[in-house]
Amino acid sequence: MIQLDRVSKRYSSPGMGSKDALKQVSLTLPAGELTFLTGHSGAGKSTLLKLIMMIERPTAGEILVDGIPLNRVGRSGIPLVRRRIGMVHQNHQLLFDRSVYDNVALPLVIAGFPRADIGKRVRAALDKVGLLSKEKLNPMMLSGGEQQRVGIARAVVNKPPLLLADEPTGNLDPELSAEIMDLFKDFARVGVAVMIATHDLSLIARYSHRLLTLREGHLVADRDETPV
């Protein structure tokens, strides 16, 4: 589903020198699997996700998303790549000028789904995250955990083959984090490739999924199915 081949990313800003955020990272994420991506703060986790989302471009190396070589995707092709990826952000990236329903519907409206389909799919996604009754509310009126679930509903509403999450449980207590994790597990079970970037080691410890560890931009460990 995702393949990285010796991918490096160097941030350079004039006057501030440059920073190698990722160095020669190679990995493969198959479909239907949940993978944790961990590492200290600044290890390059977010950078890795941004490269996959084409928010940033790699300095070197090749990335394949769903068979698409990202190096060959021009500016106008970026939206189509992003439509294959659901992304859950730490700060949700929800829009507070519209209802929960409209937030979740946004990817479908953008992708040009027929209106009749949109209603069905949005309600299915909201039902999945347990927020069907709150579709008319403004996301501002929801708790942090609920907002995060709206973000998840929006990420999966168009059934992308790939789901990325950047610190999705960052602001949540363990109980809510567990709920969110259960959702991700469900998506992996139906065939979605899920990657969760987190530095929350206690969260990871509770699950037995594949674990990728970054340190200073290097992929230092790839642990498979470690028992709890």
Binding site: A31, I55, G67, R82, R83, R154, K159, P161, G191
Partner: protein, 344 residues
């Protein structure tokens, strides 16, 4: 290397689909493809409709700011439009004066009244002459006597001092044609002097032409001002919707999708400004209309004020709408790329 979504944003990539998750709306068969195509068209149309309506709603949500922008655009457009209408009126009014333009051709004293009549008939037959009118020496004397009240003085003179006169009315009152006719007549042996007394008409024509050019330049400058006003308005709108733009880009919105509401906003601002400018010009015309009517009545003229014109009532707002669209386009292409998820 098979599937490729129809329509917008054709990309060079041909994704292989091995995903266990059913991709949205990708079914095989011509009918399905056709209906997908129709869905796409329909949703594109809906997004246009929604963008247009959303742009209007946003304008209504900030009435003071909207009114200000619309008024600025309207005034910028009303100035050249109003002056143009006034110029058209000036041209229409002076067109009647052209019709009276004529040459007074004074003949030599030895031309008798029979010769004069023959001459008048010959000239009338010319292509560039509409008609002629003879004034014999005797008629001229009688007229002068009546008008001047110098009858006694004239009686004291041994001879009639007034020359025979033929008034020549040209077919075309254009200054060049008049001048050509004048020199042709002056060259004739019987003619003492062909006098063209329409210098002021020429000056008026020149002035109207000059004014027209100035209005042209003014129109250009003010159209530019309208575009810049819209650029600035849209720039602020983009700035205030930064988060929304980032989110739309993150979930796969194309540049076109992001651009659309702003383009509509620009178009609406232009259109509204154009409509208001039409109203402003009409109010101004009503306001100056009655003094002009009095004036023309005084001069016994049939002339009455020409309005802005039905065509212009439509054209001006549409033209303004296009200016707005242009401004929005400039603002969007200049500022939209500044807002990128990269800056999260």
């Amino acid at each position: 290397m098979t599937t490729k979504r129809p329509g917008r944003n054709a990309t060079p990539l041909k994704p292989k689909r091995a995903a266990p998750v059913t991709p949205p709306r990708r079914s095989s068969g011509a009918r399905a493809a056709r209906s997908a195509w129709r869905d796409r068209l329909e949703s594109w149309r809906l997004h246009h409709r929604d963008s247009a309506r959303d742009a209007l709603l946003r304008m209504r949500a900030a009435p003071a700011a909207t009114a200000m922008t619309v008024l600025v655009i309207a005034i910028a457009l009303a100035l050249p439009a109003g002056i143009t209408v006034l110029l058209e009126n000036a041209q229409a009014a002076t067109r009647g004066w052209d019709g009276n333009a004529h040459l007074s051709v004074f003949l030599k004293d030895d031309v008798d009244s029979d010769q004069q009549r023959a001459l008048a008939a010959t000239w009338q037959a010319r292509d560039d002459v509409a008609r002629t009118q003879s004034v014999t020496r005797e008629q001229a004397l009688a007229e002068f006597r009546e008008l001047s009240g110098f009858g006694d003085v004239l009686d004291a003179l041994p001879d009639n001092p007034l020359p025979p006169l033929i008034m020549v009315y040209p077919v075309d009152a254009h200054p060049d044609q008049l001048a050509a006719l004048q020199s042709a007549l002056n060259a004739m042996p019987e003619v003492d002097l062909a006098q063209l007394d329409v210098l002021w008409v020429q000056r008026l024509h020149a002035m109207i032409e000059l004014a027209g050019r100035i209005v042209g330049a003014l129109t250009l400058a003010l159209a530019l001002a309208v575009v810049l006003v819209v650029v600035n308005t849209i720039r602020l709108a983009i700035e205030s919707r930064r988060e929304e733009i980032v989110v739309i880009k993150l979930v796969g919105g194309t540049d076109g999708f992001v651009r659309r509401p702003f383009l509509y906003t620009g178009f609406w601002f232009g259109l509204a400004g154009g409509l208001v400018s039409v109203v402003l010009v009409q109010i101004a015309l009503l306001w100056i209309g009655s003094p002009i009517d009095e004036l023309t009545a005084l001069y016994d003229s049939e002339y009455s004020l020409v309005g802005i014109g039905f065509v212009n009532v439509l054209v001006l707002p549409l033209f303004a709408g296009l200016l707005g669209l242009m401004g929005a386009w400039l603002a969007v292409s200049r500022h939209l790329n500044d807002i990128d998820p990269q800056l999260l």
